[in-house]
Every structure is written in C-alpha cells, then in structure tokens.
C-alpha cells in the first residue's frame, strides 16, 4: 500500500501531508488538517454535505481521492473567511436563519459561492439548480434560497 507525501493546496496555504492512495479528500481535510467545517454525510455522493471547491468548482470531497487533487487548489468553508470577515453568503445565511441544524450549510454555501462567482445576479431557478446536489434534511430550502439572493444583492453594491 503506497504512502506518499503530498503538497496540498487548501485555502491558499500549502500543507505537506503523508497519506496513502485510498484516502479521500474528506478524510484528509477533517482528520489530518482539522478542517472540520467540511461535513461528513452519506459518504457515497448523495447528500452534498462534503462539498468543497476544487479550482473553483464544487466537488464532493467524499468521492475525490486526496492524491488526485495534489495539483489543484481546494477551498473549504473555512477558506471563505477573509481577514476575519465572513463571506457575504455566510453573513446572509446567519442573518436569515438559513441554517437550522447547520449540517448542510457549509456545502450549501460553497455550491452557492461557485454560482455567484459565475453569475453575479442569478434568478431563483439558477440558484435552485446550483443547489440541487445539496440536501437539507431540515428541509429549510426557502431560507437558503433567500440567503443566496440576499448575498447576491449585497455583492452588487
């Protein structure tokens, strides 16, 4: 079983990680780098709780091998904070109560941030489409969509 040292680019920092081939990005983020904002949900790609951005695009950390992202740049929910200031989406989710139990929230926010990077003022259907891979078991979807709309509006100011 091969072990290798990877230089992993996460949230703008390079981490040297000793790991084996069969470990997922999710395992290394949570267990080796203590970035527990990335949630561990279904483990088989159905829930979206482990969504992270790989080179700006949302992917599922439970279905990506850590050794396959060594050349890419990973953004987790922790990486959205800049200079101690929450991302516009994080503020909007908090203000509107778009997090109930909160377990899906990091994934929701990362999927939404990828959308807002591409479409500054998405309509409701575009927001829904961008979030179709993120399940909220509390079913609090309306607030989540409103929070994305609020963040988009503020981003325009």
């Amino acid at each position: 079983m091969a072990e290798r040292v990877l230089a992993l680019r996460v949230n703008g920092e390079t981490h040297r990680v000793l790991t084996s081939d069969h470990r997922t990005l999710l395992e290394v983020l949570r267990e080796d780098l203590a970035l527990t904002g990335t949630k561990h949900g279904c483990d088989v790609g159905e829930c979206g709780a482990c969504t992270v951005l790989l080179d700006g695009r949302p992917v599922l950390a439970c279905l990506v091998l850590v050794s396959q992202v060594a050349t890419g740049s990973v953004t987790t929910i922790e990486g959205l904070v800049e200079g101690g200031k929450p991302h516009e989406l994080q503020s909007a989710f908090a203000e509107l109560g778009a997090a109930q139990c909160g377990y899906c929230t990091p994934g929701m926010i990362l999927s939404a941030s990828a959308l807002l990077d591409e479409v500054a003022q998405p309509d409701t259907d575009e927001i829904k489409a961008a979030l179709t891979g993120n399940l909220c078991r509390c079913t609090g979807y309306n607030k989540i969509i409103e929070a994305v709309e609020l963040a988009a509006d503020r981003g325009q100011l």
Binding site: M1, A2, S20, D21, H22, R23, T24, E27, H40, D43, V44, G45, E46, G48, T51, L54, R57, P58, V59, L60, C62, L63, V64, L65, S67, Q68, S111, A129, A130, T132, G133, N134
Partner: protein
C-alpha cells in the same frame, strides 16, 4: 459510520498505451471520475488491488468536430463539460445536464457514464446487508433475488448517455494494448446485468463518435427527484423527416428498463415512411412498450415503470413530431 475505501495503489499513467498495459492485470481496475466506482468500493462490492486512473491522459480529453463532421467526445470529458459544450448536439448536452448533481458532473466522465455499472436494490447495499440477505448472482452468489428462478442477473442499465448515443447512431473507439476497434454503441451493450457490455477488461473507451445529425431528437428522463437520482426510465428518440413530414429515419431507445438500453426496432420499422399522427404514435408506442419488462429492482415498483413506459414513449414521439423539440425532464 464511516465507510472508508479499501486500500489500493493508485497509478496515474499519462498515455493510453501505458494505461492499456496496466489494466491487463486482472486485479486492476480503471477509474475515471470515480463517482460510480468509489461508492461501490466503499460498500465492498469490488476491491481492486490497483486503480489505474485515466485522469492524466490527454488523448481522453476534449470535444471536437472531425473532418467527416462527426462530433468526437473524449471519454475523459466531464459531464459538466459535456453539458456546457456548444459542439455537441443539444440532446446530448441536456441528457448530460440531467445526470446526478452539479458536484458529480464536475467529476464524473463520459466514459464512466457509458460504462456505468448496472444497478439493483440487492447489489448496491453495504457488505453486511448483502451478507445477511445472501449474496446475489452479481455479488458472487447463486441466486438472483429479483427473479429467484432466473439464471442471469437483471441489474439495470442506468446510463443516460447510452440511450442518446444509440439514438444518434454513435460509436465508440476502444483501445487495448494490442490494437483498437470501433463499435456501434448499440452493439457495445448486452442484456445481462453482470456482462452488460462487450468491452474486455483490457480495453479502454477512448472516444464517443456521433455522426453529424440534422434531425429532431429528444431524451426524456423519468425519476423521483429532479436531481441526483438515476433514471427510472429514459426514452431517447432521434428522427429525420422529409418535406411532407414523413419519417425518413428513426431510432427509438428505452433506457433503465433492462440490463442494456433497448432499441424499439419494431416501432422504428413501423414509423419509417409515416407521418407522426396520433394514430401512428399510438401504434408505435404499443410496439415499443410491449416488450419492456422492468423488474422490481430500483426505486418505485416495476408495475409503475411498466405503466409509465408507453406514456414517455408517446411524449418523446410527440416531441420530435413537432418543430418545438426542447429536451426536458418530466416530473413524476
């Protein structure tokens, strides 16, 4: 409960020849995006010793139009790239966009969806569950739990791209260590849940080739939710018409009701030369849906899927009969 991947060594060749050599080892398995393979490995449905990643092979990337006007889609193209490509027929882009979720489409590949393992309620389960219920045929046991008297596996073909590729008359280029071949997508599959395609373990799907197509085409996908879910039923249709609105050529394919996409040959033959009137569509629907025998092995019962089969075939034929061919997903 954490389901970790079983240990394996990952090798990442950069050329097709190197990859073809590596996968001749019977304990090795190909991995494209891994979105289908990794959940199966986590459930210990398969435990390859070596994974041969196709991610770094340039020959598998990109979409282009060749000298013959064919659309050539690399097997390593992600479903997100396919869905966004202006080079591919609209029906292909919309079928790709209806697969899984945005996150999975950013990772999953065209080759992976075409070679997608067949699925069943009795195989896509954790190891403990499969052991407790008794291993099924596809799992190395001696009984198909869907059809206990059957001598073969009934797991379902769940690829959305294959029915569309067959409807468009597509073919695949396969490369092995000792050469290459091109095979019609229609001939690539066979109706057996275990040996569901004719690719040998040493072959790699390199490209999907779609001939230039100027007719009308659609793909209707039926599933419980508008995202993530595999198809309960998929109907792909592609046809050309003469100036009098008579059909000059058609392919009609029903997906997710058997272990391979099913061509509705009798319906196709009936439709040639005919205008798609209500009566003609009704008869073609009858011909196409009668042989369909879905089993009780996925989400919703088999009776429901059998019942919905003619409904979706009719809708698909109505869509291509009219000028307004917009590919769409049907709500249950």
């Amino acid at each position: 409960m954490t389901m970790r991947l079983p240990p394996f060594d990952l090798v990442t060749p950069t050329t097709l020849q190197e990859a073809a050599g590596l996968i001749s080892d019977p304990t090795a398995s190909i991995v494209g995006g891994g979105t289908d393979l990794f959940p199966k490995m986590k459930r210990r449905q398969t435990t390859p010793v070596t994974l041969v990643s196709l991610a770094e092979i340039d020959a598998l990337k990109g979409i282009r139009i060749d000298d013959e006007g064919r659309c050539v889609i690399g097997a390593g193209v992600t479903l997100a790239e396919l869905a966004d490509s202006p080079l591919v027929p609209a029906v292909v882009a919309s079928a790709a966009d209806a697969i899984a979720s945005p996150q999975i489409r950013n990772t999953a590949t065209v080759g992976g969806n075409l070679c997608l393992d067949t699925r069943c309620n009795y195989i896509d389960m954790p190891e403990l569950w499969r052991e407790a219920s008794g291993h099924c045929l596809k799992d190395g046991g001696d009984t198909c739990w869907v059809a206990p008297r059957s001598d073969h596996c009934w797991a379902i073909s769940s690829t959305d791209l294959a029915p569309v590729a067959i409807a468009l008359g597509g073919s695949l280029r396969l490369v092995a260590a000792d050469g290459e071949r091109i095979i019609d997508v229609d001939d690539f599959f066979q109706n057996d849940g275990i040996d569901y395609h004719t690719k040998s373990p040493g072959e790699i799907v390199v490209e999907l080739l779609l001939p230039a197509f100027t007719g009308r085409a659609t793909y209707l996908k039926h599933r419980r939710r508008g995202s993530i879910d595999f198809p309960l039923l998929g109907v792909a249709a592609a046809a050309t018409f003469d100036d009098a609105a008579r059909c000059t050529g058609i392919r009609l394919v029903v997906g997710a009701v058997a272990s391979a996409p099913l061509r509705a040959i009798a319906a196709e033959e009936f439709l040639i030369g005919r205008e798609f009137t209500d009566d003609v569509i009704e008869e073609a629907t009858r011909l196409a849906s009668n042989p369909v025998r879905p089993q009780d092995n996925t989400d919703t019962g088999s009776r429901y899927r059998k019942w919905m089969t003619p409904v979706f075939i009719t809708r698909a034929l109505q869509e291509i009969a009219s000028d307004d061919t917009t590919n769409q997903e049907e709500e249950p």
